[in-house]
């Protein structure tokens, strides 16, 4: 995905997502993968600029205007890497060797070199992007589980055994007992 000169122009994914804007962060629920993401202010700002027309260089300039603070290009690339990993971008965004003179490791399409990371850590905390992801629980995973000697279903229906316990059948009865080594 790139403009006429081949520079990457990231595009945010919108299909199959539920998006809720908080005061500064953005919550995104992926209906296809049943994962929920929290984009911190910097990651949310980058995602908003992923319109399929804005290059990374232009994004950096706009973010600096929006946030009224210097923005490191490595921060934007880190945000794009995290957004891509979370499947919140369409297509793949590859960083070219002429993108901001940053070092690039083979196979590292969006990760950070040590120099980039140190530069980010020295930057304002507000410009460090973060995408936090959880897997949405299935209903049975959200309820209390069955303890030792409590009934269970070896087929997996109903309340599961608590962690470290296994559903063990003996005749007509199935109960939760500590798992074997």
């Amino acid at each position: 995905m790139g403009d006429r000169s081949g520079r990457p122009v990231p595009q945010a994914r919108r299909d199959g997502l539920v998006v809720r804007e908080l005061a500064e962060e953005v919550l995104v629920y992926d209906l296809e993968r049943h994962k929920a993401h929290c984009l911190n202010p910097m990651a949310a700002a980058v995602w908003r600029h992923c319109d399929g027309q804005t290059t990374v260089a232009d994004m950096v300039r706009r973010l600096q205007q929006d946030l009224s603070t210097p923005v490191d290009r490595a921060a934007v690339w880190s945000a794009l890497a995290q957004l891509g990993k979370a499947r919140l971008l369409t297509g793949e965004v590859r960083r070219r060797s002429d993108e901001g003179g940053l070092s690039r490791r083979e196979g590292d399409e969006g990760g950070l070199s040590r120099r980039e990371l140190m530069r980010l850590l020295g930057a304002a905390a507000a410009t460090i992007p973060l995408v936090t992801t959880i897997a949405a629980p299935a209903a049975a995973q959200a309820v209390s589980c069955a303890g030792i000697s409590e009934p269970c279903d070896p087929g997996g229906a109903g309340v599961p055994c608590c962690p470290t316990l296994e559903c063990t059948s003996s005749g007509a009865t199935s109960l939760c007992f500590p798992g074997g080594d």
Partner: protein
């Protein structure tokens, strides 16, 4: 019989009328008989008992619609499965409420919500707060309306007395010297904590977005109704702080929490 629980219509039939009182004990708190026999789920309990031949006993069977859920010699065990499955079904499908797996108490007109899985010490912390004067809302579900207020789900507390994996015993809140809440309360604080021996209570405040994820991780219909879940959770985190941390003994946390909420030590809570 048909009944309604949090807007969910359920039917239950039993082959032995003498077992019906024991079934009714297992229904969710606040259930009401339904006039219409039209239900979204039907449970069928077939009580076993003595067989036709000497020394032979028939199994107790439980069906959910056409699927068999349990087949056991002990009726209590089957009733526990009935209660668990019914509870989960109501929590997952209630049309106008969002069920979060959490303890909940009322303190000075606000709710304290304690999300957490089993063995994180929710019931212990709820019981300690009740003993300190909080009103009891639930040790299992924080039931939220669209405005993010907590409604009662005051079933008897399930306390594991001798250890984490021991079978729980049920205690009404009155036997603990407390009382149950009846009116919906706005949330004052959300505490995401897990018991660890000798841990010091030093919670950190999560951002609203991180707090929302912490709540969603314990939301029963998160996958079935994510849009409604996020909309309700957004109401909560926009108004109430979400704190997270390990905790030691419940009494120490309660003391710190009461002091923080009240601004003074030892005052009792009110609705």
């Amino acid at each position: 019989m048909a009944f309604i629980s949090y807007g969910v219509r359920v039917g239950v039939r039993v082959n032995d009328p003498a077992a019906l009182p024991r079934v009714l004990e297992r229904l969710p708190p606040g259930w009401k008989p339904a006039r219409s026999p039209v239900v979204s789920r039907l449970y069928s309990l077939i009580v076993g008992g003595a067989g036709t031949r000497p020394g032979v006993r028939r199994f107790n069977l439980l069906y959910m619609d056409v699927a068999r859920l349990a087949r056991r010699p002990e009726l209590d065990s089957v009733l526990e499965t009935f209660e668990s499955d019914l509870q989960l079904y109501v929590a997952d499908t209630a049309p106008h409420r969002l069920f979060v797996h959490a303890g909940a108490v009322g303190w000075r007109g606000k709710a304290i919500v304690l999300p957490g899985r089993t063995f994180t010490g929710k019931t212990t912390l709820v019981a300690a707060l009740v003993k300190a004067g909080a009103t009891y809302y639930s040790d299992e579900y924080a039931v939220l309306d669209t405005r993010g207020r907590v409604h009662p789900y005051a079933r008897p507390l399930s306390v594991r007395e001798r250890g984490a994996f021991e079978k729980a015993k049920r205690y009404t809140v009155e036997t603990l010297g407390g009382r149950a809440g009846v009116t919906p309360l706005p949330i004052g604080v959300v505490l995401v904590s897990q018991y660890k021996p000798n841990a010091r209570w030093r919670p950190r405040r999560l951002s609203p977005g991180q707090g929302a994820l912490a709540l969603l991780a314990h939301t029963v219909p998160a996958r079935r109704q994510p849009e409604r879940a996020l909309r309700t959770i957004q109401q909560v985190v926009s108004r109430a702080p979400v704190l997270k941390g390990l905790r030691g003994e419940a009494e120490a946390v309660v003391a710190a929490l009461v002091e923080a909420l009240d601004g003074s030590h030892g005052r009792h809570g009110e609705e």
